[in-house]
Structure formats: C-alpha cells, structure tokens
C-alpha cells in the first residue's frame, strides 16, 4: 500500500504543531508592531519577540542582545558576509570560505569577488573535510573573514567548528558560521567555539519559513556588519524592517523545543538513518556512501546508486509516496551535478546518481522500512531500463 513518507527534511521540515500553536495568537489578537511598545498591542508583540530572542540565544549559548532577526539563513549569510566585507574593507579585502558551502555563501562571496575582494575557496578531501593546516596557511594580513559551515546540507559532514574558531580568533579574523543544518541538531556553543557570526533558519528546525536569525557577537573588539537593508534602524541598525512577529515567535519556540529534545532526537534519528542505510546496502548492489557516517550528522544520508539517474530515482520514489532529493541539483534551477560532491572528488557519473535522504523528527521506523522496500523496487525498475547497468553486468560476466 502506498504510504506518504517525507525524507527531505534537509530541504525543509514540517512545522512542529506546538510551534504553530505558539504562533497563531500573533496572527490574531496580538497583531501589534513591536516597535510601538508604547501601547498594549505593541507591548505584547515586543515582549513575545524578546522571549523568542532569549529562546534562540539559549540554543546556541549566546546572549539575547546578540540575536538579529532576518528573513532566513540566506539573508543571514548575506548580512554576515557582505556586511563584514563592507564594514572592514579598510582592514583588508580577503575572505576565506570553502567549495562545499551553501550557495547563499558561495554566491555572496562571488559577488564580492566582482567588487574587488579576494576570495579563497578551500578544497575538501574525499570525506568532505577541510585541512586546518591549509586554513592557517591561507590566512594573510588582508584576511578579514572566514566563512565556513557547521554541517553540510548535502552530505551531513560536520566541520571542526571549534578548531576553526580558535584559529580565526588567534589570527584576529572574524569567523562566520552557517549553522542552518546544525542548529538544533548538534550542540553549538558560540562562545566556546569562538564564533563571531552565525546563521540559522526557522524552517529547517520544525519552525516557519521566512524567518531566521544572525548571531552577532558582542565581544570586543566589536563585530558589526554594515546593514544591507536600510529603513528605520531596527535590530541595532543592522536590519531594518518591521519584525515578522509570528515567525519570530515560531522560531523561538522551535529553538526551545530543539534544545529540550536534541540529545534524544539526534540519537533516535541516527538509529533510523542507520536502519535505512543498512536496509539498503544489505539488499542493493553497487551503492556507495558519499561523505562519512562517523563524521556526519546522523540524520543525513547521501548515497550513490550506480546506473540510476538521480531525477529518475526521485520521481519513481515520489510515485511510491517517498520524498527524497537528488544529491545533484540537476532538476533545480542550477542544472548540473552537485558542486559539493564534485568538490569531494566524485566524478559527474557519481554525482548524477546520488540521492540525499534526510530524516526528521516525525519519521518512524515503519516509514523507514517502507522507504527501504521502495528503494529496492525503484532501483530494480530503474536499472532494468538503464543501458549503463546492462553494460556493467556484461562486464562483470566477462571478468
């Protein structure tokens, strides 16, 4: 029987019902503008926003005053990188990032590259890891910012954030960390990890879309990105615009829930993903893992199914009610194999057959077992029609 199984939590998560519940009053009776706290309507909204600020701050070990509201992680990344670049231009024009970053970081850096900044894109090894020694070496007098993600969105690979932070602080360089896939999933302590700016998003952590936050450290010497959105001087002048109160309330509640359930949830999802992984590799041949199970978040699994084109796999899974995504972005607006897998040394023939399974809070064991059966059926069907599999089996017979 066809079920409905959502295994694309890396793209977005369903909203936790408790989050939606917390938000609804701020669409209805508490509709006030938090900037108008002179009256009861504005005050109620303002208090809710400040509660949410505490909730977000607590999740990452920050102080409430260090949380700046944005429209999502893409804006947070833009504000952090462009804002720092513009503000500290007189100190240097060099920015360090990595080839496997999210496009929100890569495209922002590329934009700055056209504006006279020098960008270093660190390579990664086959497991998706950067070389810390290389990071040390590329830092120069001109370097003002290092922007490296905490968890890779395609492979789940975890970067050594604390070590990166230590290097950055030692060399007097700002450290921005895109933690969109990490916040609420793995422990983050911005102080211990010496992170100066950190991006996170609501809809990746069972909260609403269209809201995110940028943590900006209040340490000395001051970290202060120049605003990229002007008009009213909200959020300490760093991000103007009337606050998205229901979204912010939702993001706060989502962070609070994550903080409560994180250890158990991470363990449960790791077990579920292991069940999926072993269920597949025990019964399907010619499957390989992109990334590394021991050095990644448990809930993201990126697998290459030889001879099965990614979009075909995804469509056939969808026919069975299972939502997954291509490791390659062939079907998105980008068209072309994943830049992440390419950077990890995978040939296009691997990137074109790679699939990301990303698990979440509401997945059950039963769903995973159904997904395993679906994968087996889909791979069999897709390989029947694939001329590449035919060639591969013929070659096998010859040897």
């Amino acid at each position: 029987m066809k079920q409905s199984v959502y295994l694309d939590n890396g793209a977005t998560t369903p909203m936790d019902p408790a989050v939606l519940e917390a938000m609804l009053p701020y669409y209805r009776e508490h509709f006030g503008n938090p900037a108008s706290a002179i009256h009861a309507y504005g005050l109620a909204a303002s208090q809710a926003v400040e509660t949410a600020r505490r909730q977000v701050a607590q999740l990452i070990g920050a102080r409430p005053g260090e949380i700046i509201w944005t429209s999502g992680a893409t804006e947070s990344d833009n504000l952090a990188i462009t804002g720092i670049a513009q503000k500290y231009r007189d100190k240097g024009n060099h920015i360090i990032t990595c080839r496997t970053e999210h496009k929100a970081v890569l495209d922002t850096c590329e934009y700055l590259g056209h504006k006279g900044f020098e960008i270093t894109y660190l390579p990664v090894d086959r497991k998706g890891m950067i070389d810390l020694e290389q990071l040390r070496q590329v830092i120069s007098e001109q370097t003002i910012l290092i922007s490296l993600m905490a968890v890779n969105n395609e492979t789940g690979v975890i970067h050594p954030v604390a070590q990166i932070g230590a290097i950055a602080r030692e060399r007097g360089v700002f450290f921005h960390c895109d933690a969109t896939q990490a916040a609420g999933k793995v422990p983050i302590d911005v102080k211990a990890m010496k992170i100066d700016l950190l991006s996170l998003s609501g809809h990746k952590i069972y909260g609403p879309k269209g809201v995110g936050a940028l943590y900006v450290s209040d340490r000395q010497p001051l970290v202060r990105p120049a605003a990229i959105i002007h008009g009213g001087g909200h959020e300490q002048g760093m991000r103007s615009g009337t606050l998205n109160v229901p979204g912010i309330v939702g993001l706060g509640r989502a962070c609070e829930i994550c903080r409560e359930v994180m250890p158990q949830e991470a363990e449960r999802l790791k077990k579920l993903a292991d069940r999926l992984y072993h269920g597949i590799i025990d019964r399907v041949d010619c499957v390989s893992l992109n990334g590394h199970r021991d050095n990644g978040v448990g809930h993201i699994l990126n697998l290459a199914f030889a001879s099965v084109e990614g979009e075909t796999f995804t469509l056939m899974m969808d026919m069975r009610g299972v939502a997954v995504s291509t490791g390659s972005a062939c079907t998105s607006t980008a068209m072309g194999p994943s830049h992440v897998l390419r950077a990890m040394g995978a040939g296009d023939e691997v990137a074109n057959v790679s699939i990301r399974f990303s698990l979440g809070r509401f997945n059950t064991e039963e769903e995973i077992d159904y997904a395993v059966e679906s994968v087996i059926e889909v791979v069999r069907k897709a390989r029947e029609i694939s001329p590449l599999y035919e060639n591969a089996t013929k070659q096998k017979e010859k040897t």
Binding site: V308, E311, M319, P337, I385, P387
Partner: protein, 131 residues
C-alpha cells in the same frame, strides 16, 4: 523538481518497448547517444524486416524523466515504419508532444540521435552482408 506533462509521466511510469535486441543479428541496428558524465545515455535497437520496415524496436535510457519519455515515445512512433519514414520523425515533434520545457529539449534530440546511429549501424551491417 521539474513539472512534467501528463504524457511525460505516462511514458515515464509505463515506458513502452523497454529492453534490448541481439546486437549480433544482421538485421538489428544499435545506436547509443550521450554519456554518463552528462547524465544522459540512450540506447536504441531496431530490427528490420522486409521492405526496410522496422518490425521491432527496443530502448534503454539512463537519464531524467523526460529522457525516458522521449525514448519511449520515439519507439512508439517508429514501430512499423520504413527507415525513411522513421528518420523523418523530428525531435521537435517529440518535444512538442511531450510538452518538454526548453531545458529538456535536448532529451528529444538524444532520442533522434540514437535513432540515426541505429539506422547507420544496420545499414552498415547490410552493406557488409551484400558484399
């Protein structure tokens, strides 16, 4: 994810004439087009009967939904036709019928190129046999 027409999804879910024919058969032509690195490979087999008519056709595709649908639709269109009639089927015709978006038009080209290669292959075989 690309949004496909009902016709693409129909061919994708129930591709016609999937399989292969004996490549050593002198009446069978085989054509392959594309590469795994580019994410698209089509392999087309045609068997010629009397009067240069295509009496059997099979295909296999490694590629996206529209690549599979293009191969499948092509096999339907050329079955029973003479080589000349089959060669007159254009990729534009396939793209139109499947309502392929511009970024997927190359899938229909791939089907046509695989057919050209299969025809060239069987012609070559026949020429050798008549020598």
């Amino acid at each position: 994810m690309m949004h496909y027409s009902d016709k693409v999804m129909d061919h994708f879910n129930n591709p016609r004439n999937v399989g292969s024919l004996d490549e050593n058969d002198p009446d069978v032509g085989v054509g392959t087009f594309g590469s795994p690195e580019c994410g698209d490979v089509m392999k087309l087999y045609i068997r010629l009967g009397e009067n240069r008519c295509i009496i059997d056709v099979k295909f296999k595709t490694f590629g996206c939904g529209s690549a599979i649908a293009s191969g499948s639709l092509l096999t339907e269109k050329i079955m029973g036709k003479t080589i000349d009639e089959a060669m007159a089927v254009t990729n534009g015709e396939i793209a139109r019928e499947l309502e392929l978006p511009p970024v997927k038009v190359h899938c229909s080209v791939m089907a046509q190129e695989a057919l050209k290669a299969a025809v060239a292959d069987v012609r070559q075989k026949r020429r050798q046999n008549t020598l």
